[in-house]
Symmetry: C2
Subunit: 323 residues, 2 copies
């Protein structure tokens, strides 16, 4: 019922809606309406109430409820179904579970906080409530499994562009899927895949982005390595607006990938990645290689040249810029 009241109030935001009108439309008592209005206020909705004139919506809180997100969403199909939670172990785990039970391409899981937020390779992702974005998108691309890394690169490009659009800052990408501002991680991706040998059942595209965390909120261990948009800009960023941009960019770039293939993704990715000519140390499956970055190949693998001139192809791991 909260959603229905909000829809009504949003339709004509400047005018009052009488309790009688709302009560008639929703077929509930005026006392029931008043109780819901009180509840909405407790969630952060600023609603003016006048005994004579009725109710008027002044301002909405920066919540990521389906109703709030959809009010600003401009996508054609992505995020048309949103599974919203105030708390989850991990949005990826929930999305994986939903996809296993048949959830469709484009369905999105959003949580205000994560108890066990996960990063790549089994690492944690710090996920305090209400300040950041934690979401997972279900995709069902008809591509062979070995192309799945391109989905990661595609999502990195979309994430960087969404940040740029909302802040004017220019994020760079660190192979394979960290989004950096001034060398510090502001967003990360975790893609989980269910596949058989020659087809993908689904991909869960998990994105965590630090928006409004202050410097002192970061755990000591990652304070010098991570940042938030607020820390870089000095002001608060609307989570809802950024989420809308992000889903739109994802929808656009995913369409480009399916239509034009990986090369279009790689071009956009390369222009934001710091690979070519950089001295890199790559750690992969417990082994380290040092070399100069050359490129990423058509499957998204990193190519680097060792001091002896040998070219190495690395499909997984972490890189460090050594100068």
């Amino acid at each position: 019922m909260d959603e229905e009241i909000l829809q009504l109030l949003r339709k004509h935001p400047s005018t009052f809606h009488s309790g009688e009108e709302i009560s008639r439309r929703l077929q509930v008592s005026r006392t029931a309406i008043w109780k819901r209005i009180r509840h909405l206020r407790s969630l952060g909705y600023e609603i003016e109430a006048s005994t004579r004139a009725g109710y008027r919506l002044i301002q909405s809180p920066d919540l990521l409820t389906p109703s709030e997100v959809k009010s600003s969403l401009k996508t054609e199909w992505m995020g048309k179904v949103i599974h919203y939670f105030t708390r989850l172990d991990s949005t990826n785990s929930k999305a994986y579970e939903l996809a296993t039970r048949g959830a469709e391409e484009g369905e999105v899981v959003i949580s205000e906080s994560q108890e066990k937020g996960r990063g790549r390779l089994g690492r944690n992702w710090f996920s305090p409530p209400h300040l950041n974005l934690y979401l997972s998108v279900i995709l069902r691309p008809k591509i062979p499994p070995h192309q799945a890394p391109l989905i990661t690169l595609m999502a990195a490009v979309a994430t960087a562009e969404a940040i740029e659009e909302n802040t004017g800052l220019r994020p760079l990408i660190k192979w394979p899927n960290d989004i950096l501002l001034r060398g510090r991680k502001v967003a990360g991706l975790l893609n989980e895949i269910k596949s058989e040998t020659d087809r993908i059942h689904f991909v869960i595209l998990g994105i965590g982005m630090n928006l409004n965390m202050d410097e002192k909120m970061f755990p000591q261990g990652i304070r010098s390595l991570a940042t938030s948009l607020k820390r870089e800009l000095g002001r608060t960023i609307s989570r809802r607006d950024l989420l809308s941009s992000l889903l739109q960019k994802l929808e656009e770039w995913y369409a480009v990938f399916l239509k034009e293939g990986g090369e279009a993704i790689l071009r956009a990715w390369r222009s934001r990645a710091q690979i070519k000519g950089k001295r890199l140390k790559v750690t992969s499956f417990g082994e380290s290689i040092t070399g100069t970055g050359v490129d990423v190949d058509s499957d998204g693998a990193l190519i680097l040249e060792t001091r002896s001139g040998e070219r190495k192809r690395v499909v997984a791991g972490d890189i460090e810029y050594t100068r």
Copy 2:
């Protein structure tokens, strides 16, 4: 308790065990023992009962219960935990569910029948009860996801060898993972993988093998395409013995793969596959290519040469021998 009674009877198969002895060891009444013996007989165990001397195991049925399988299993770790079912939707689905909840490498799911047995690319696998083998093995290899197809090739080699060991027949492999006898499919593999961009969480190695089905039991549509060991040999094959061989071969070849890498697998695979010099038609993601088979590459992809001399690499799909 059935298991405990069988263990006792198996220990000294030629001698009688008195009801009193069994009752004392298992701490239950003699009436309870008698009820369990009756139950075991209903499952197909031939147990001689003498009022004076007690009970004696004459013959065990060809069941795939953990107790029966373990009595002949010679592996070091694979199949030490067996999840046994008389009926399942699909052993792969059950194993996937168990692996998601933390089941360990080497745990095996076996079912006497499958209601929704699945083959590659969403196809069905005909799975009538008690005649064949339907099993899924949980593996957790520490390899990059793009090497997962090698697990499929490895399993195809192990499956072919297990059949050869038990029957003397020499199965061939049809890329990527069908096992053929005289050109007809006798076994098939379906590997399902949970991964993230740069690591595998687990692989479910699903194997279906036709053992004791008569020709007339095959559905009309696949009668000319599929066969069973019994149809080829003219005699019944012990499912338990074949399962034991299969798990042992899988354990051996998996160790070879992890220790020596893909090349060792590919060598064994090539010697059973009909690729080189064969005229092939490959259908992959809705498109068909015709050419001459050249080899499989280090990731298990099929290489073929078209009439114009161009080499094509195919990662997924179906092949047909065109002459």
